[in-house]
Symmetry: D3
Subunit: 325 residues, 6 copies
């Protein structure tokens, strides 16, 4: 997607310039993994016009290999971002993406792509698009599994995209993806609302403890991970990561930090979990690394994480540096 951000803290009705960049969950996770040293591909379709050219150039700048990107159609999804300040929340306004190149894309050669990759990442936002896109997602995930690859699925439920009775509409599609997935990003609300699981617990950590074992067992998922976020009153957020694996739920330390650009920070967490799993980190190291990656992403301009493993390990120590010369 194309992000059109009002600079500073002005509103759209006050400013006259926008900063643009190209992002989206897939872009963010792919670019973050590229920074960790993995060759990273985006599978998508972009318009065959100057806007698509700009998207390609900027994805390449982020280190993403664009070999599997098709050029077709005329439109790209866009959103306007007005930065919040303190008590005034940030505000996102979407443009029309029903007829975007991505949503009207012809079939990709998923078998061929699946042969060349080890891990594929999918997300619930894409699942909300339309039937064609949903079908493509499932075909691709099936192909990846068939070739021995790992399927990552981020539940990422967006109420406004699914509309009225959204959970009911979404449920079967989520379940199909969960059956295909090895690593899943979700929390207790996804289990309760999308998957209609129930627990008598009322506190979110207890709900996690109660529900994740069932989710993992029912859909045969190896790793389930996610975060609990608290928005504080002084421009800081608090974040704690969790990871279910081998019948155990591991929590990261809770980190509190000043926030510069919150969007995309969840994707940095995802990239940290994938890296931990690929590198065989312990669950504790994985959640601590993923939370540090996410924390750093809140201090980075734009949606897309930009930190190297070294950068992230530096802030895992909890000491704040003066100036790095």
């Amino acid at each position: 997607m194309m992000r059109l951000q009002v600079p500073g803290y002005a509103l759209l009705s006050q400013a006259d310039t926008l900063q643009y960049s190209f992002s989206g969950t897939g872009v963010n996770v792919t670019a973050a993994l590229s920074r960790f040293g993995y060759p990273s591909y985006l599978v998508s379709t972009l318009p065959a016009n100057p806007v698509g050219d700009a998207a390609i150039a900027n994805l390449q700048k982020l280190g993403i290999d664009c070999t599997f990107i098709q050029r077709n159609g005329k439109y790209i999804g866009m959103y306007f971002l007005e930065n919040g300040f303190g008590v005034r929340a940030s505000r996102v306004t979407y443009s029309n993406r029903l007829e975007s190149s991505f949503n009207t894309a012809s079939l990709y050669d998923f078998q061929e792509i699946a042969k060349q990759i080890d891990v594929a990442h999918f997300c619930g936002i894409t699942l909300a698009m339309n039937d064609t896109v949903r079908q493509q997602m499932k075909q691709f995930a099936t192909a990846v599994k068939a070739h021995g690859g790992t399927v990552v699925f981020d539940c990422n439920y967006r109420p406004t995209l699914w509309g009225e009775d959204g959970y009911d509409k979404a449920r079967s599609h989520y379940e199909e993806m969960l059956h295909l997935a090895d690593i899943v990003l979700m929390n207790e609300k996804d289990a309760m609302l999308t998957l209609q699981m129930t627990t008598e617990e009322t506190e979110r950590t207890a709900q996690l403890q109660a529900l994740l074992p069932f989710v993992a067992q029912k859909y045969n998922i190896t790793v389930i991970a996610g975060t609990h976020r608290t928005v504080n009153h002084d421009n800081t957020h608090s974040l704690q990561g969790f990871l279910w694996k081998n019948q155990r739920l591991t929590f990261s330390d809770q980190r509190t930090f000043s926030v510069h650009d919150r969007i995309g920070a969840g994707d940095a967490y995802t990239s940290g979990v994938i890296h931990g799993e690929l590198q065989g980190f312990s669950p504790k190291e994985t959640v601590d690394f993923a939370v540090a990656a996410s924390m750093l992403a809140h201090t980075i301009v734009g949606d897309t994480p930009m930190s190297s493993e070294q950068d992230i390990r530096q802030v895992m120590t909890q000491t704040i540096h003066d100036v790095i010369r």
Copy 2:
């Protein structure tokens, strides 16, 4: 529409900021007339969100009365503009406007609006949108005529909007509008291509001479006006206006001038013709004024003309001033 312009002469794939403004033929003509001292209304529909708020604020800034603007729907038409330089032409890339608030608007109270206005301006770009919009245009124009108002119609044919066999698709709609119109902006190509009129003349001035009388008579049009433009090799354009009225074709002097922002300069010409007619200028004064208005609009940042009658009369004299202190 929302114009998203790359600053300076960079391409979309080189820059990272955009300047935005709100324009369109209707906006440009309305704002230009507002500068001549007329209360000027825009009849349109804008989304009920921050983008719509920004549009309203900027239309008000241009002096446009927004009383007749409905707030509905979610999207606004957008286009990206990359400025050309010398031999490299400017490039416009449209976003999807099929589902814009304007194109999905519910019915306006045209009878009520028609009562309050003297002149209504319509344009061929709007006519290309969809059947609902076309129906609304014709209802509005009919209501204006019924209340004794003047209908202005700018033929403004855009091939990419009508698609294949566009002239055939467009013809009957154009003819309906021409039958309702009192003042028409067009040139010899509109007569030949859209209206399928023929002449043996091959030079454009001769074609005008041959065809305009037939057009005026057939559709019962009081004034037909337009321009002939030449793009020169040194960043200048040459422009000559013409105006058919009372069985006579009058030409302006040809003006040659450096071009800063070409888009919307045709709408300045239209506003000059309307002003001349409303004020009872002679045909010669009207075309000279309209061409000077258009010429000045080429030197103004943005699509929308910003010049007062005094500014325009100053450049009608052909002398170039040093600095106005």
Copy 3:
């Protein structure tokens, strides 16, 4: 007035660009009320030159009806703003406004204007200008009363404008305005310093309790409202509103919040009080609404409040949102 602000946190002697906007207490209150849905007029005089044109365009952008603005004279009041940061306070430097269009304006048709409006807002800064302006203020307020309108007066005493022995110079003019006013913005210091009232209380809340009844009774004022502000050490302010009405003093909750642009936030409070009174809010709802309006105005770029009633009600709940999508 024209605000010329150094971008970011640089000093005038460090930067080379300025951001300009047009504001002032009257502009801010009028624009804020326009956002609440009231047709809002500014009664003023602006120069008949490009600076005046820019002012008109920007006032219209803010939703202000400029019908009652006269165009005369050559100058507009201006001020330079250097943003403070943390322990370094913001700094305002005024240009010469003695000969501004506003201060040298000819007589307005106040009878005609008074007929068309329900509420008129005046402020103590204007009262400090010169005798002609003071006379105009009183004539206008008298006309509004005569036509059954409501007079709002914001005491807003600026020491540098009145000069030496300022309170003595100002007293009789303030008293005249207070006799005409229905709603007054002031605090205990205005009562003690400008009106020379005395109390033995030493704490500001107790002083309010002691003095406001006398002020209300003496000048026959329906509503007296104001705020108590505390500047904290961590870039936050604390704000509590109060409102005297029907013999009772009501306080809002105290709100603490990060500050982005402090100037004009008092005018947002005024607009909240006016809106509460016009809509018949309870005193408690009015002060809570007005404080929330003011709090939001601290997070908005520029002097002028930009929030709708819906925006303000959202922050009255004290929960901080993550991102509004």
Copy 4:
């Protein structure tokens, strides 16, 4: 003065930022001479506030010694500049400078200053301010003469500053300054309009030939110099310099060149004439150098010339360089 320029080619009513710099004839000539290697002082008064601080910082940046600048008063003269483009002329709007620090300055120690300098430059714009300023100018010029220094006077008549019957009001003051001056910048119009001299010639070069000998003789002036400018239709100007000395009128080659920023280019010419005289150039070398200096100043951002003698000599050759590496 403080120049507040709208960036690019936008109007004040379109933009929201201004670029500021500090200039004026005195500043421009002084800074230009500083670039030629002369210690250069400005004799002026600036406000004792952040605007004055910014002025001092920027004058120092230009290489001007600020030892003789007093800090008093509160205001500085300002002007807004909207850049023209092609047929649309640049537009200057002045703020109120009646009460500027300069115009309300207390007496300078002109005897002391006159001791330390060799050449003093005065200009007709200053002469138009008020009686106090005029008196100061004459006192200073007299002191310079008394200490053996050279007095340069630029006639620089601005009609809007002198108002109705301006030439009559100005005449005696100009004559006083001319009697004190050694080097004078003027043209045939100054002789005819301000000094009421007459000639039967109608072409401007012939008028120069006819009038300058009388002017030089009557006021006992050593050197009279000036330019004839033609504004062409393609964003270029043509400039020819002239210089009367030792009973001979010498002309420079006429130069035609693209114009980026025209304001202040006349002051570059003045600085070239002063440099030529101080260095003992031949009259032909002086006018050619001064015209080249002026021509370069048209290509420089801002009012103030920035070119070294080497830069100027490079363009005296009439060859255009590709890139200087």
Copy 5:
């Protein structure tokens, strides 16, 4: 190299911001070929720090494959660019590149690289660096030849890099490279000054005719190409390309055009010649294409050509388009 450009037409001593990009002859040619659809690699060394990261990101953005770029050392070559205007030439100031990562690079695996590429481009600027770099160039060119690849050499002699007696110092190195080269970019001056060839002709076209056959024969070169440039007085340049092949010298049409950013436009010409040769264009088509590519590159922001083959073919027709919608 890192280009640090003062925005607009200001001097380094006037501005306070710089626009940066990464370019150089190799970057420009590689990126241009990438736009024509060729996989394009840069062989270089960049510092292992944030400046090197930024370079990599921007090279990827240009479509360059960075697989063969080593990360070592601490510095990158930089240059400051002040844009000229009209008679004032652009000015380039280099930073110290003696100790740049490129100039202190360890050995590349040229055999491996040579296996994977078809064409390698070298330039005379690199040849001027130091002995290590020169040795690397020759090793690489030799390896390319050994693996059947094509060697392109652009003579590109920069006097300031070679210093005193530069042609004598450079001669043997140039001759070595010419012996290895298949396609050479040069003109008559390279033949006369660097290669010490002589002719009695005095006009540059005649000199070309006289000298190129000898050069081609002596060094066994298949194609020799270059341009003749004229800098005109109105911000335009004129350019004519030539190409020697199969014993015939072919000239392009001379094109005259407005210039926005001249640097790097020669590299666009080179890319056009390489593309013509690889695609088997006729010599006439190749020079016309290469000149059109170069002409367009003068209208593009930055050093690096950004045009597709379609863009270039559009301007080969000599018609100027109004707006491309």
Copy 6:
């Protein structure tokens, strides 16, 4: 040095513009003292090219007298600054300064300079450059002493500049400078690491108490001063100053404050100490003044302190002002 700063919080690989300024310990201290009213000279060498011109212009803008600056060589030291945010530290990347004009400067006329100044400031960063520079420093300090001036030396040890075994390499040079110095800026770490002094204390304040008397005695130093800094987790720093004089160690109050631009704030402390000593402040007043100067410098854009004595005294009171009008 030339500081090239990425605007806002972006990384070098995300942005495309840089803000430049000229700073360095010497520049910062000199400019700060100039703001306190002292004529202040920089003794340095700058390149004789446009970069050097820009440096001179900007030093003059800061109020520094450039009489003693030589123009020679071609390069200036540069560094890139990426601003940190919250947990992400700021990052500095140096360009190559081995061959800078400063490091390759020819001999200055130190005897002559020493005659004209009262105080000379030296710093440990300069001491790390090379043998020539070190020799010049010592010659200059010796000359200052010989002419009865005061020598200030800031220990300022930068590990990356001295490389491996840096303390051993640096020791003798530091000792030479300390023997020449009257006022020294240092802390307990300099004593322990550079001077190899030992103490059994483990807390930094106790270490100071233990070591400073020995340092002062051994090198015969009148005043030793420094700060202890704590970086907090909420974008604030805490700072406490200390000053050893007349056998007593005096501490300032500890101040905690929000940080905008941390670089150069230590130099503001130095300037405060020098000012206190020159004005005969008590030790307590000096440290409180110096810490307030440093605190304000953290809120100022750029490396260089910009505050007057009045500004600093305003924040010594610990009250935070709302807006200064």
